[in-house]
C-alpha cells in the first residue's frame, strides 16, 4: 500500500495534476474565509466593469489628510492618459486641414501641440467632408484638454444652501495624493464585474465550489451505479449479466448528453436545483464505469484466488468485498476522477443551453458562462467575464485527467517506458 502511494507520488503527471487541483480546491475553501460577500450580490450599476481598484471619488475629494508627492512623471502620465495617440492623429488631421504645414506640427511634443491647438482651433470652422459627429468630437476633445497643462489646482466648491451661490471650499493641487489605505470606501475587483454588476472573482470562486460539488455528486452517483451494476453483472453472469449488459450497451450508444437535455427540460425550471442537476448528470453517465468494472470483474472472477477464497468458505459478499473490490479499486478511483470532471463539463454544457440549475440561488461555472454569452461579453471584448471561467473549467478538468494518466502509468505497466 505504502509502496503504491510512493509510486503514485513519483509520477510527474500525477503531481502536476494534484498540485493544480489542490490549488483550486484550497482557493475555494480559503477565499470565503477572508472575503465573505454574497457571490450574487449586485455591486455596480453599469455592466462589465473592468478589473481594477475602485476608489470612492467623494471620499478622496473630501479627504482631510492629503500628502504632497513630488513625482516628475505625474503630468506626463495624466496627459498621456487623456491625450492618446489616436487623439493626436486627429488633431494633426484638423490642423493640417486648416492650412498649417505638417512640418510645423510635432505630435510628440505635447506642450507645443496643445499650444498650436489653442491658437488655431475654432469649432465654427467647417472643413470639407467633416460630419457633425466629427465636429462634436473635436469640441469634446477641446473641452477635455482644458487646463490639461495648467499648473494651478482644481477648486472644489460647495453650494451655499442659503444663497444658492457657490463657495470655494477646497483646492486640490496637482501634487496632492491620498493614501488608499485611509480611504474608507474602495473595492478591489481583480476580475471586474459581470453583466449584472457582480464581483466576478467572488462569483467565480463560489461557482467553482458549486461546480466541484456538482461534479462530486454526479461522479459519486455515476460511479456507485456503475460499480454496483458492473460488479453484479460481471460476477453473477448468466441472465442478470445479459440484461445489465444489454442496458449498458444501449446507453453507450444513445448520447447521454441528449438524454440529459431531455430530462433537464422535462424537470422544469422550478425543480432544477444544483443538486437535482448533479443527480441527473450522474444518472446519465454511469455507463463507462459499468463497462469497465464488468470487464475487470469478469477477468477476475475465474481467477484461482477467487476459487481459493470460495474453497475457504467465504460468502459472496466477502469475496466481492475482499477478493474483487481491492483489485478494481484503482480503476474505480480513476473512473470517479473522470466522472467528476465530466460532470462539471456536463453542467457547463447544460447551462449554456439554458438548462442549468435555477439561477436565483447559486452561481455555477456553466451559469457564469451562460450569462457572459447572453450579454455577448466575448464580442464586446470583456474578457474578464468569460475567460477566467473557461480557464477554471479547463484547469479542473485538465488537472483531474493529468492525475488520472499519472495513476494509469502506475497501475497499467504496459504504458510505462
Amino acid at each position: 500500500m505504502k509502496h503504491m502511494f510512493r509510486q503514485i507520488f513519483q509520477s510527474g503527471r500525477f503531481l502536476v495534476g494534484f498540485a493544480i487541483f489542490s490549488a483550486i480546491v484550497l482557493t475555494v475553501v480559503i477565499y470565503p474565509l477572508f472575503i465573505n460577500d454574497p457571490p450574487l450580490e449586485i455591486l455596480s450599476r453599469g455592466t462589465f466593469l473592468a478589473p481594477g481598484i475602485y476608489v470612492n471619488v467623494y471620499d478622496s475629494v473630501n479627504f482631510s489628510t492629503r500628502y504632497t508627492l513630488l513625482l516628475d512623471e505625474a503630468v506626463a502620465r495624466r496627459v498621456g492618459a487623456r491625450l492618446n495617440p489616436d487623439d493626436r492623429a486627429t488633431m494633426l488631421e484638423w490642423l493640417t486641414g486648416n492650412g498649417i504645414p505638417e512640418a510645423e506640427i510635432d505630435t510628440a511634443d505635447t506642450a507645443a501641440l496643445l499650444e498650436l491647438w489653442h491658437n488655431n482651433f475654432d469649432s465654427s470652422v467647417r472643413l470639407p467632408g467633416m460630419t457633425n459627429a466629427d465636429r462634436n468630437y473635436y469640441i469634446r476633445l477641446t473641452t477635455s484638454l482644458e487646463g490639461l497643462l495648467a499648473t494651478e489646482g482644481a477648486i472644489v466648491a460647495a453650494q451655499d444652501t442659503a444663497t444658492g451661490g457657490l463657495t470655494e471650499t477646497d483646492v486640490i493641487n496637482q501634487t496632492d495624493y491620498v493614501n488608499i489605505g485611509e480611504v474608507p470606501n474602495f473595492r478591489v475587483l481583480p476580475l471586474g464585474t459581470d453583466n449584472f454588476g457582480r464581483d466576478v472573482l467572488t462569483e467565480l470562486v463560489s461557482a467553482a465550489g458549486v461546480s466541484l460539488t456538482i461534479g462530486l455528486v454526479a461522479g459519486t452517483v455515476a460511479t456507485t451505479i456503475g460499480l454496483l451494476l458492473g460488479l453484479v453483472s460481471g460476477y453473477m453472469g448468466g441472465l442478470i449479466d445479459d440484461v445489465i449488459l444489454f442496458i449498458t450497451n444501449l446507453f453507450t450508444v444513445i448520447p447521454g448528453f441528449v438524454l440529459l437535455i431531455l430530462i433537464s427540460f422535462s424537470i422544469g425550471q422550478e425543480q432544477r436545483g444544483a443538486f437535482t442537476i448533479a443527480v441527473v448528470i450522474g444518472l446519465t453517465s454511469w455507463v463507462w464505469t459499468a463497462r469497465a468494472v464488468r470487464a475487470q470483474v469478469i477477468s477476475l472472477r475465474n481467477r484461482d484466488h477467487v476459487n481459493l477464497s470460495k474453497l475457504s468458505g467465504h460468502s459472496i459478499a466477502y469475496i466481492l468485498a475482499m477478493d474483487i473490490l481491492p483489485y478494481i479499486a484503482s480503476y474505480v478511483v480513476m473512473a470517479l476522477i473522470l466522472q467528476i470532471s465530466s460532470g462539471i463539463l456536463a453542467e457547463a454544457g447544460l447551462s449554456i443551453l439554458g438548462l442549468g440549475p435555477r439561477t436565483t440561488e447559486v452561481p455555477t461555472l456553466g451559469l457564469m458562462m451562460n450569462w457572459a454569452m447572453i450579454y455577448q461579453a466575448h464580442i464586446l471584448g470583456k474578457w474578464w467575464a468569460y475567460f477566467p471561467v473557461i480557464l477554471v473549467i479547463a484547469l479542473i478538468s485538465f488537472s483531474m485527467n493529468l492525475m488520472n494518466t499519472g495513476l494509469d502509468q502506475v497501475f497499467n505497466p504496459t504504458l510505462r517506458g
Binding site: 503527471r13 448520447p255 447521454g256 441528449v258
Partner: protein
C-alpha cells in the same frame, strides 16, 4: 463472406433495437418527470401566446398529435405513427413553422459541420498519437500534456477562444451565423464563399477538441502494439522499421474506430454547444431557442433526431470496422 454477413445482420438487429429503445425513451422520459411537460404545455397553450388564433391552432393540433387525452399506450402508438410521417406538430416558439420545418432547416448544417470535423480531428489526432508513441522523447513529452489539455478544454471554451482571437481581434472570420445574414441562400459563388468563411471557426474548434482525445487514445494503443510479439518477430526477420510502423499504425487504429463509434455520442454533445457559441444555424442553436422559448415539441424532436444521427454513425462505423478487421470475420464463422 458468411462470417461478415452474420456480423452485419447481428449489428443491424442491434441497431434496430437501439432505435426502438431511443424512440421509447424519447417518448417516455418526459412523461415520467414530475409535472408531465407534455400535459403542462398543452395546458399552458391557452394563456401563453399573444396570437389568439395561433394558440388555438397549436392547442388543437397538439392535442390531436400527441393524443394527450388518451391512455399512455395509445399515445405511444400515435407518437410513433406521427414520427414516421415526419409530423412533429407546430413549433411553439416559432409558430406558424412546423417542427419538421425548423429541424429540416437546421439538421444539414449540423451534419455538414460535425461529421467532417470529427473525422478530420480523428485522423489528425491518430496520426499525432502514433507519432508520439513511436518517436517518444521530446515530441511525446510536449504532445501528451498538450493533448490532455486540449481534450479537457470544454468544447465551448475552445469555441470562444477561437472566436475572440480570430473574429473579434483579428477580424479574419465573422463572429456568428452560417452565412452572411444580408444574403439570401442561393447557389451563387458569393454565397458559397460566405458559407465557407463562416464554416471555418466552428469546424476547427471541434477538430481541435477531437484531436486531443484521439491522440491520447492512439498513443497508448500504439505503445501497446509496439510491444506486441508480432512487432518483435517482424524486426528479427529484418523487416524495415517503416513497414513495422505501418503495421502498428493499422492495428492500433482498428480499436480506435470502435473507440470513435462508442464516443460519438459524447462528441456530438460537446459539438452542439460549440454551435451555440458561433450562433451556427444547426441543431445546437435550435435546442437553445427551443429551451428559451419553452418549446417542448421542438426539444423532443431535436433530441430524437440527434440520437438517431448518433445511432446511424455508430452503426456505420461498426460496419466499416467489420470490413477492415479480419478478426471479426473469423470470430463469426467459428
Amino acid at each position: 463472406m458468411k462470417g461478415y454477413r452474420d456480423y452485419f445482420l447481428r449489428k443491424f438487429a442491434w441497431f434496430i433495437v437501439t432505435v426502438v429503445v431511443a424512440f421509447t425513451l424519447n417518448f417516455i422520459l418526459p412523461r415520467l418527470m414530475p409535472g408531465d411537460p407534455v400535459a403542462a404545455i398543452a395546458a399552458r397553450m391557452a394563456q401563453g401566446m399573444s396570437n389568439a388564433t395561433g394558440v388555438q391552432a397549436v392547442y388543437e393540433q397538439y392535442t390531436r398529435l400527441f393524443a394527450i387525452d388518451k391512455p399512455i399506450l395509445e399515445q405511444y402508438v400515435v407518437y410513433i405513427g406521427n414520427v414516421f410521417r415526419g409530423d412533429f406538430g407546430y413549433s411553439i416558439s416559432q409558430y406558424p413553422r412546423t417542427v419538421a420545418d425548423v429541424i429540416s432547416a437546421s439538421v444539414w448544417w449540423t451534419i455538414a459541420l460535425q461529421f467532417p470535423a470529427i473525422i478530420v480531428g480523428w485522423i489528425i489526432g491518430n496520426t499525432l498519437g502514433a507519432l508520439a508513441a513511436y518517436v517518444r522523447k521530446g515530441f511525446d513529452k510536449v504532445l501528451l500534456p498538450l493533448s490532455i489539455f486540449l481534450s479537457n478544454m470544454p468544447a465551448f471554451g475552445m469555441a470562444i477562444v477561437l472566436l475572440v482571437i480570430f473574429s473579434v481581434d483579428l477580424k479574419w472570420f465573422p463572429t456568428s451565423g452560417g452565412y452572411d445574414y444580408a444574403m439570401i441562400p442561393n447557389m451563387s459563388w458569393d454565397f458559397v464563399w460566405s458559407v465557407i468563411v463562416h464554416y471555418q471557426l466552428p469546424f476547427w474548434s471541434i477538430v481541435l477538441i477531437t484531436i486531443g482525445g484521439q491522440a491520447i487514445g492512439m498513443r497508448s494503443m500504439a505503445i501497446y502494439e509496439l510491444n506486441a510479439d508480432y512487432v518483435k518477430y517482424a524486426r528479427f526477420l529484418g523487416i524495415k522499421d517503416f513497414k513495422i510502423i505501418q503495421y502498428v499504425f493499422r492495428n492500433a487504429m482498428l480499436p480506435q474506430i470502435t473507440g470513435l463509434a462508442l464516443s460519438i455520442g459524447t462528441m456530438v454533445g460537446g459539438a452542439l454547444v460549440a454551435e451555440i457559441i458561433f450562433n451556427y444555424p444547426g441543431l445546437g442553436s435550435t435546442i437553445l431557442t427551443a429551451v428559451l422559448g419553452g418549446d417542448y415539441p421542438l426539444i423532443s424532436a431535436t433530441t430524437l433526431i440527434i440520437t438517431l444521427m448518433a445511432l446511424v454513425a455508430f452503426f456505420a462505423l461498426e460496419i466499416v470496422y467489420g470490413l477492415i478487421d479480419p478478426r471479426i470475420k473469423a470470430a463469426q464463422s467459428d
